[in-house]
Amino acid sequence: MINAVGRDIPEEVLKATGREVFQGAFYYDNKEYTKAAPTVRANIDPKRSKLVSSIREALEKCGAHDGMTVSFHHHFREGDYVVNMVMEEIHNMGLKDICICASSLGKAHDPIVPYIEDGTITKIMSSGVRGKIGEAISAGKLRDIAVMYSHGGRVRNIEEGRVHIDIAFIGAPTADECGNLRPSGGKSNCGVLSYAYVDAQYADKVVAVTDCLVPFPNIPASISMVNVDYVCKVDAIGNPDKIATGAAKPTTDQRKLLMAQYCTDFVAATPYFKDGFIYQTGVGGASIASTIYLADIMRERNIHMGLGLGGIATPMVRLLEEGLIGKLVDTQDFDLGAVESAEQNPNHIEITGSEYANPMNKGAYVNQLDFVILAALEVDTHFNCNVITDSTGMITGAQGGHPDTATGAKCTIVITPLLQGRSPAVCTDVTTVTTPGETVDVVVTEYGIAVNPSRPDLMEAAKRCGVPLYTIEQLRDMAYAIVGKPDPVQFADRVVGIVESRDGTIIDVVRQIKEFDFSN
């Protein structure tokens, strides 16, 4: 069945996943539904201890069984040890058909690929599957169709009961014996535990894994003890150097600085750029450079950012400290500066994944955004974006908050170099749609910008700001003129993954990769 972005979703996939096709970003707006609930156990006897001596003991006490769903957060980023530790134990117990419901998986989790290959893990739901897990899924090694969702989409999946988590494993930098969890105060601090909140609320069993047990009460807690069943102390939950990396040096790449300049010039010319504006940016070199240029204009014109949102890195923290930003609401910390600020600055506030981006609650923070600056692997002439498959069709990226912020923001800007190597980033049709064009307003490249024709108001600003202005087709033509017109990626027939829209409908599918066949 063809969906609202023109992608054909096979009937078998709709049946197998029990979902509808994507019908527009606002299809479920105002939908009424009843939330799901976990099955939990009363803890009245004050003598009972939640402490367990090992992951294995936790698994046994939680009644780990074949076919169960386990969940993890990714606040430890490339420094995470928790997923691998838990999956290794599950494997050693001889369990099978496990479903992993993660907020994201990355290269740190390459070691679980053998468990995919031997059938221990048969289903994966995640925002991203970077590294060897993505390769394994693309090669068709995962038995069930993978589900790739956004940050908001994951929360929705859990709250509406489409996913039922049997055991949630929450890596916590500090925990007390009762299960009050904090993202700081330990040796592997991560600043926030935003993505784990929904797991703690909705999983039947919740196991806290920490390398730093602290005296009760460990409060104010990000995750409250009333939702935690067991607390397991291990030697290390992650590698601190990879969790809280040093702040990246500002880029000196002229190409990125050119993109940043164009982006800032445009932003400053829009009517949304006024005192109190609400802003989110990514951590790519060009996005950060754009924020730094914007800060100069903010100082010049005495315009303050009312709220900064999202994954936070040091540059935003510095602006908060300078007083140029009123408050930061934080769902993920990308470097040490952000982690420390989250711990210490009362205007730097942790929010949950649901508060951030869930489309099905009563109004998330993304709905308040004036601007979001996003990256993309590809964007096409319909302004659809691809953030997960590369030029060989391999799954390599993550949706993250891309579609969530794009839908919520009044002005969604995608910043990308015109070419990624020989691959044109601006093309006729993206390989895989992750973010629908109706939610994307402007594309900024180092050659110039293009505005979605559905936004004549932004077109006015674009004409005023002095940046070279083109149609999206012209940008594509410039790209093709340099590299040539690309053929579409060749895939095998088998669907290995679905790209879930924020509301759970299917916006595109990913098929198994295959070796290229020269045409004869």
């Binding site: 000196t252 002229q254 190409r255 600085l257 050119l258 180092e446 050659y447 003129a481 340099i482």
Partner: protein, 301 residues
């Protein structure tokens, strides 16, 4: 011979290694006035042959959107330069840069080979321009004869690194070791009516020092500077482009002189400055420079 591009705007000339495909794809986005594709020092001795193929196709097939293409051939003391000239002319290079130029005869020798190649490859005779890089004491001393050596010669450029070695000193950062060469070259170039370009500044982390050096050579009268990285381009263009203030003043000067001339008045003041007919050419040049740089839309030139 008519060379319409001989005096075009050349504030910035960016060096690019012919053997680095990633860099030569689309350097025009940084908007240099000229790019210099290098067959000489940047290319290893055993890669000179391969670099020529890269150059040929780059010149013929990459759209540089009006940025001038200069090619630095190998020196006359190497076995490479003749084939370099052939590929430059066949490819359609705009300017050939002759390294290690010491005397007018060097230019004549290259010019002879260029003429032959223009015949061989059916290019309009005289369409390939030349420039001379001076890298030695002899070259600097012979600057005037080099500047006058050929109709095709657009100007001379200083190669500071090799020159200071010839002087038996080194680049100090103060500029004192380059003073003599800079002064001789700008004086000779102006006397001969050609352009004059300054040497590269290699410390990319010292943008303040780069700006100071650029401002200094601008004041000395240089037409432009060689660049090794795109981030140096905006600085050079800022320094070499007349400001709005300069433009407004120049317009006043031109208008006033035209009016006053008609009234038979030779000396007067504009904005408190004493002006006479001698200021006319300079004011016109300011407006031409501004127009070429895209910041002047008026009709006085």
């Amino acid at each position: 011979m008519n060379h319409p591009n001989k005096k075009r705007l050349r504030r910035s000339m960016m060096f690019l290694n012919c053997q680095k495909p990633a860099l030569i794809k689309d350097p025009y986005i940084y908007k240099p006035d000229s790019i210099m594709l290098d067959l000489e020092d940047a290319v290893a001795e055993n890669q000179k042959d391969a670099a020529r193929f890269s150059l040929f196709h780059a010149l013929r097939e990459i759209d540089y959107h009006g940025v001038e293409r200069v090619v630095r051939i190998n020196g006359l003391d190497t076995p490479h330069w003749r084939e370099d000239v052939r590929v430059c002319v066949a490819g359609g290079a705009d300017v050939i840069r002759i390294p290690k130029c010491t005397c007018a005869n060097d230019v004549h020798v290259v010019e002879g080979a260029v003429l032959k190649a223009e015949e061989e490859f059916g290019r309009e005779k005289g369409s390939t321009l030349l420039m001379a890089a001076l890298e030695s004491c002899y070259g600097v001393l012979n600057c005037l004869e080099i500047c006058k050596s050929s109709d095709r010669l657009i100007g001379v450029a200083l190669s500071g690194g090799d020159y200071t070695k010839d002087l038996q000193t080194h680049i100090t950062g103060t500029g004192v070791e380059l003073n003599g060469a800079r002064q001789m070259m700008i004086i000779a170039a102006r006397a001969a009516g050609v352009q004059c370009f300054d040497t590269v500044f290699t410390n990319l982390d010292d943008m303040e020092g780069f700006r100071r050096e650029t401002e200094m050579i601008h004041s000395m009268g240089f037409d432009g500077k060689s660049i090794i990285n795109p981030r140096q381009i905006p600085v050079v263009h800022q320094v070499f482009t007349p400001t709005q203030k300069d433009i407004i003043f120049a317009e006043k000067v031109v208008r006033e002189i035209d009016t006053k001339k008609a009234q038979g008045i030779g000396v007067f003041t504009v904005d408190g400055k004493m002006i006479d007919i001698a200021f006319y050419d300079g004011a016109k040049r300011t407006l031409m420079l501004a127009k070429a740089a895209g910041v002047y839309g008026g009709d006085l030139i």
